[in-house]
Amino acid sequence: MAEVRIQGLVKRFGPVVAVDHVDLTIADGEFLTLLGPSGCGKSTTLAAVAGLDRPDGGSIQVGDTVYYDSASGAFLPPERRNCGLVFQSYALWPHMTVAENCTYPLKLRRMSRADRQRRVEEALALVEMQPYAARYPHQLSGGQQQRVALARTLVYRPTILLLDEPLSNLDAKLRERARTWLAQITKKVGLTTIYVTHDQIEALALSDRIAVMREGRIAQLDVPRVIYEQPSDPFVADFIGSSNFLKGTAEGVTGDALSIRLDGGRTIQLGLRPGISSGQRVTVAIRPERIAVLAPGEAAPGEGSLLDATIAERSYLGSRWMYHLEVGPTVLRVETPRELPVGAVHLHVPPGAALVFAGEEAPEA
């Protein structure tokens, strides 16, 4: 069973702590994504699991095998870990053909010629690259190279699969197709997978669970739906689905609603959130796609708060409009298919469209 257990992992680069006491347990067969902006420590964590970097503390265990343990000083070199890693640059050996690239790991495992041939054919068939077996990597497109990189990794049946932003070098359209394809393949092989990306859509679409990382720590670890709907802090809310942030003070609880006086005078009613008490300074995160912009005098479409706002600027995006709305001292960005003139409007915020966080810490807009 290949359950991955990472405990208290620390990695420093000089004075910078790239990974700061990360604990993570990945169940057998689970697809877990490390998500975060560049420099959050996600790739460093992956490199530590792969054995490419030696961590400075903690332990990594996969199944019954100890990869690394700072307490006992154990460190398994990468070639003895039997991990499969797909590199961001694919790292296909340019002097070997597609077939040779896939055969290489099998040769290292002293497999017989017949077995090697069978395995390579299987792996290439899995990624639908059989016709290209005799090509050199530079004769392939980016998408094809990515498939070969995956085949080369799966061919030796690794214990766990590590994917380091494998889609980031593809163009937008191809990326979408490759994502679907990757989801199918990983489901088929059923390996425990760690996936590193900075793209929240990839993370949401592919993962069983997502670990959002920030400054070397895990900010939130949960299933995609919870990460999106109930981000644990403004950072996660902002990183997953660009939120708008308003500051205010909690005023009181009425039924299951919390009322908050926003800076600038307006009051907003939101769903109850534990741990927020009256008089506390709070940050309200609003999902731009969940709120409606109403022309002056228009009736609210349902339950929720109405805010006075002014359209300061608007731009046409094809299927939608993007409005810069002034709400008190803050500017919100809202996208909607409705066309409205510059001027005063109302904003309708349904209870589920906004989240309240204690404190005033908010990411830069």
Partner: protein
Amino acid sequence: MSQMTATPAPALVPGRDFVAQWGIALLTVALVAAPLVPIVYQSFSDRPLYDGAGNLSLDNYIKLFGSAQFMRVLWNTFALGALTTILGTLIGVAAAIVIGRTNMPGRALIGEVLIWPLYISHLVLGFGFSVMYGPSGYVTLSLAQVLGDSPWDLYTIPGMAVICAIAQAPITYLFCVASTQAADPSLEDAARISGASPFRALWTISIPLLRPAIVYAVILNFTVALELLAIPLLFGRPAGLEFLTTYLYEHGIDAATPDYGLVGAAGALLLGIVSFLLWLQSRLLRDSGRFVTMGGKAARPRVLNLGMWRWPVFAGMAFYLLAGVIIPLLGVGLRAVTSFLTPLLPFWEVLTLDHFVLIFSYPAYIRSILNTIGIALFGGALCTLFVAMVAIVVHRSEFRYGRTLELIATYPRAVPGLLAGIGFLWAMLVFPPLALLHNTIWILVLAYVMRYLPTGFGAMSPMLLQIGRELDRASRTVGADWWTTATRILLPLIKPALFSTFAILFVAFFREYSAAVFLISPGAEVIGTMLLSFWIQGDAGPVAALAAFQVLLTFLFVYGARHLLGVKIYG
């Protein structure tokens, strides 16, 4: 506010760009063709060049190939070339891997000493070998006292190949080390993840990826080995071994009546062989997509841990450098300050400054030093500027024949120094205006500039290509013509490239001797030719003093330029 009107910048001199570009191109063609045309023509002519127009014939070639002596010459030349290439490439690749990729102690220092032979001529290194390892050399005799017999003989083809290989190893090393540093480290990481040990990953992934660098170095080494003069002349001739270059030297200078036809044919043949090798090189490197390693992130390759082998590997490299570079150089220095260098007498009992006194009391010696410095400074600067303009025309102009110009400017790689010398000598015979330069150092400057066009071009181009194209395009759109753009925008932008190209050319001009052999005249001598002629006469003392002085000046220049001016000279 007044109405804005469109005022295009007036063309300063109409047609100026056209004239400048064609001028630079034609000058390049003339410079490269000047020495080559007379040689090729002479090889097909039945009369000496100075004797008016002869009839075209193949007689010279028939005579050349009919001679059994010449067949031996060809065989010797190829044997020396092949051995030198194999040894030089092995040393260079091994050093590149050990220095570029492992945690061997003292890598930086070892890498530095390794390229010293590049700064000094084969002549000086060869002289150092002769002083220390020759039949009556200091080291040879010391060992003979113990072993009872001399352990080696430098006056053989393998003996000469060792010296040549040590002189050539830096080139291979520089190519391969640049290639290892540029390789995408994730390729090796991928091999490790797939289950390869660090050394297996190095052996199966990284070393095969060096193939283009190795192919390049192999052919370059072979080419250079074919055109060597000093070592074959000084170690081969006493043993009765003749090579293409010594054959040319003998029949072109030493003989009482030079056989122009034979020299022309042998020269054209050498030219043909080298041209073929360079063509082969570009063919072999054409499909190099298989070796281009495109990195995702800019990262350095991981350092390989040699473990318990760190010190043995270090000892091996240190021994190589001590025996191959430092002891010969020490030999030159010691010989310069002793009246007689032998292990039988402690050298401090025979210390003397007589050789230096001698050098600085003969006007010819002093003149050769001043000439050499003058040519290196002035010729180097001239060549740098000219190369810069050629590179700008090639890479940054709409000049129609830019690609052709590049081929012409880099062709002199195929022209051995000795041939450039013969060619310019003959060019003066057939082209009277050029004869005005006869007996001056200007003809040397011309030959050197021609010979080192490719070196300069190679140093300049990559740095020029790094300058964003939009910078000169911006200059054109605001109204500057090409000439103004080239001189006001591009030249200032490549100032660092100009300095390092100048430094490389200075070192090359300073140590050059083979192109000068045919061109010197009383009053226009250079250090290299002085060294050669005095060594041939057997005056080891003055040779050592002059060589030591040359090496000292070179090192002062190289390290001064590097540390004071921050100029890059080979890494």
